[in-house]
């Protein structure tokens, strides 16, 4: 058995990007199968356009249209493409200086082997069938040895509905690893026990246990079995729904200070109307049916009032 527990976590969101007027013009051009660059104050044509001039720092405004043909200035081979890359078969990432531009842009070049790529080779944009105003409107570059050399021209009208924003889905897949101490805690939870650890220096009992006492840095080693009853120190009633929420509001998110522990942890309070939950209320852990248990705090479905008199404020006020 591994010393620590781990579980996958995926963090994913469809982020939006306001493009601003400069990148918006570049993306609008792509949608129309036109490549928009900018002439900087030094007279260099750069694609994609920088938003601000590298010398004067002013927002750029001298837009030009360059050819969709160009020359490879450098490249690298991608033998095993990963998800999300422009092509799903081996390809080259190439720096391509488009005809009319003075600086290269990076994109995929669709060739079947590294033998077919060389610096100085002529290439052409392969446009996506459906274009939406995004860099993916350029599906990739493809070889075009006979392509005539184009040049930059002044940018004409790009038509109605300029691009002002794009959506960029981002997904990160992690393997979340609990510390050895947390892992021991969750394994105990899987047996229906709640354990904490006492700091040998300050004597405080932490639940879940930490690797080291947050107050003095001392490794916590002495295991303490804790009661399944405790006191609500403070709480809030969550009435607001939000993206990714796992519990349907309204619900009471409360700090529960278990008897024998020196720090409260957050859990859910049920079996009582939310407006009747009180600071100082005595509660007990309500466990899910044993067959549903895993190595998670969610084995405890919620905390429920014990019916005892409320704890005296002085007994928990130093935990607020």
């Amino acid at each position: 058995m591994s010393r620590t527990l781990s579980a996958p976590v995926t963090v994913a969101f469809d982020y939006t990007r306001s493009t601003g007027p400069v990148l918006g013009r570049f993306l609008t051009g792509l949608r129309e199968k036109r490549v928009v660059g900018v002439r900087t104050s030094e007279g260099r044509v750069v694609v994609p356009p920088p938003e601000f001039d590298p010398v004067t720092h002013q927002q750029v405004d001298d837009f030009v249209e360059v050819a969709d043909t160009g020359t490879v200035t450098s490249w690298t081979w991608v033998p095993e493409p990963v998800e999300g890359q422009p092509l799903d078969r081996p390809f080259a990432f190439a720096l391509v200086t488009l005809d009319g531009a003075d600086a290269p842009m990076v994109h995929a070049l669709d060739v079947s082997s590294p033998d077919q790529v060389r610096t100085g080779m002529r290439v052409r944009v392969r446009w996506a069938e459906e274009r939406v105003g995004a860099i993916t409107d350029v599906a990739c570059f493809e070889p075009a040895e006979d392509a005539p050399t184009g040049s930059a021209i002044e940018l004409g009208d790009l038509g109605a509905n300029p691009v002002t924003g794009v959506v960029t889905p981002v997904e990160l897949d992690y393997q979340y690893a609990a510390s050895p101490e947390e892992s021991a805690f969750y394994r105990a939870i899987a047996e229906g026990r709640i354990i904490g650890q006492r700091c040998p220096a300050c004597g405080k009992v932490y639940v879940p246990p930490r690797s080291a006492c947050p107050a003095d840095g001392t490794p916590t080693t002495d295991e303490v079995e804790l009661s399944h009853t405790g006191t609500v120190t403070t709480f809030c009633i969550v009435n607001v729904p939000f993206l990714g929420q796992r519990i349907t509001p309204p619900y009471v998110s409360a700090y529960v200070l278990l008897d024998g522990a020196d720090i409260a942890f957050l859990h859910l309070i049920l079996d009582i109307p939310a407006e009747e939950v009180r600071m100082g209320m005595r509660v007990k852990a309500v466990w899910k049916p044993r067959e549903e248990w895993g190595t998670t705090i969610e084995n405890i479905s919620h905390f429920s009032p014990t019916g005892e008199p409320d704890a005296d404020y002085d007994t928990y006020k130093h935990h607020l």
């Binding site: 976590v9 969101f13 306001s18 720092h57 969550v238 859990h267 600071m279």
Partner: protein, 387 residues
């Protein structure tokens, strides 16, 4: 060696809105930067170094945004530093920039902080479920609401004090052309009637979600001589503390108390309430005004709400707090701390416009972040510090 004197000679900010879809992240920063440079009467070519701050990368989903922003910020060929201390980052960023001048490393430093909250969803980003843990987290409001409840219990404050703060700050915002929320009809009664989101925090007691940026130009004594109204830095401080220590005081955190005490000591302040003319305090949820009044030492513990309730923190009060409308009226998270610092500078420069406190000579800028884990503060004055 003693610190070199340093002063703020330029402050710029964006018009903060829920969605600034007209500008990119770089464009948003430049809107604030260009205003700060114009205010300071300098150009990017005059700047020696740039310090940028923003809150967690998950808010926009851009890892290390300083990399792609460098050229737009005018940093090519210059030192560029990025600072991150969660919600307090705007303040910490300004302090790092100031320290480069105070240490004699640079003469003219540009600092900028931003957030483009519309590109994502901060509530989601702050509530990503962690395996094995109980998924009861509910954003910043869900985090702070229990501690607000604790404050109310501990201090015995009447429950309408939070609404007084919210109504005051929203009225103040009407005097600030850059403020995001502009709700002339907000009153204590309307705040109390608004929906309870995270009991005991109501909708109108909560900061908005904003796109915005703030920038400042911080310079050495020689450069400041050319400014008609420099804001001199009389003290800076940052403190942090463990988020989860047993018996940690979540209502009146030790790090905040220690930071404030050190700030007042640096500046020779013995009675903050009497000696400070205006304060810009990081109040994302209304109850944090009385909580921080106590934490900062403006009042005794348990008495902060009395100053608020008496009108003492209003524009015409004994200690005007958040005359700009504060975080409750504009919250581009990464920039919110720098806005506090910048607004404090504007007050002592006599440049705050309609929300100027008459004759302000000393002002506090304050920010906090994480689970009340990071604190950043500065004290600025119209006069050159004597120490």
């Amino acid at each position: 060696m003693a610190k070199q004197p340093a002063a703020i000679v330029g402050v710029g900010q964006t018009h903060h809105r829920a969605k600034r879809e007209d500008v990119s992240m770089a464009g948003l920063c430049r809107e604030a930067i260009d205003r700060a440079l114009a205010d300071a009467n300098v150009s990017l070519d005059d700047i020696d170094a740039i310090v940028v701050g923003k809150a967690p990368d998950l808010f926009e989903g851009v890892m290390m945004p300083e990399l792609f922003l460098a050229e737009s910020l005018g940093a090519a060929g210059k030192p560029l530093l990025r600072v991150h201390t969660a919600g307090s980052v705007g303040g910490s960023t300004a302090i790092v920039a100031a320290s480069l001048v105070q240490a004699g490393v640079h003469k003219r430093v540009l600092t900028v902080a931003y957030e483009k909250q519309s590109e994502s969803n901060a509530m989601w980003a702050l509530s990503v479920p962690v395996p094995f843990n109980m998924p009861v987290h509910a954003g910043a409001g869900g985090y702070f609401a229990p501690h607000v409840r604790s404050y109310i219990r501990r201090s015995g404050a009447p429950t309408h004090v939070g609404a007084i703060v919210a109504a005051k700050d929203r009225q103040n915002a009407l005097k600030n052309p850059y403020a995001h929320l502009r709700n002339p009809d907000t009153t204590v009664e309307s705040v109390l009637a608004s929906q309870v989101l995270w009991d005991p925090i109501r909708y109108d007691e909560t900061c908005p979600s904003s796109d915005g940026a703030c920038a400042m130009v911080i310079v050495d004594e020689d450069t400041a001589a050319a400014s008609p109204n420099p804001a001199w830095i009389h003290g800076t401080v940052m403190r942090s503390e463990a988020t989860t220590a047993a018996e940690r005081d979540q209502v009146n955190p030790q790090a905040g108390r220690d930071a404030a005490a050190y700030l007042w000591k640096q500046a020779g302040i013995t009675d903050p309430l009497a000696e400070i003319d205006a304060a810009e305090i990081y109040v994302p949820f209304s109850w944090f005004e009385p909580m921080w009044l106590e934490n900062l030492g403006f009042t005794a513990e348990g008495e902060g709400w009395k100053l608020t309730e008496s009108g003492g923190t209003a524009m015409d009060g004994r200690l005007p707090v958040n005359c700009s409308g504060g975080v409750l009226s504009s919250n581009p998270i990464g920039a919110s701390g720098m806005l506090r610092f910048g607004e404090a500078a504007l007050q002592v420069r006599g440049a705050a416009g309609e929300h100027q406190v008459d004759g302000a000579r000393k002002a506090l800028g304050h920010a906090y972040g994480g689970g009340s884990q990071f604190f950043a503060m500065w004290l600025v004055g119209a006069d050159k510090p004597s120490n």
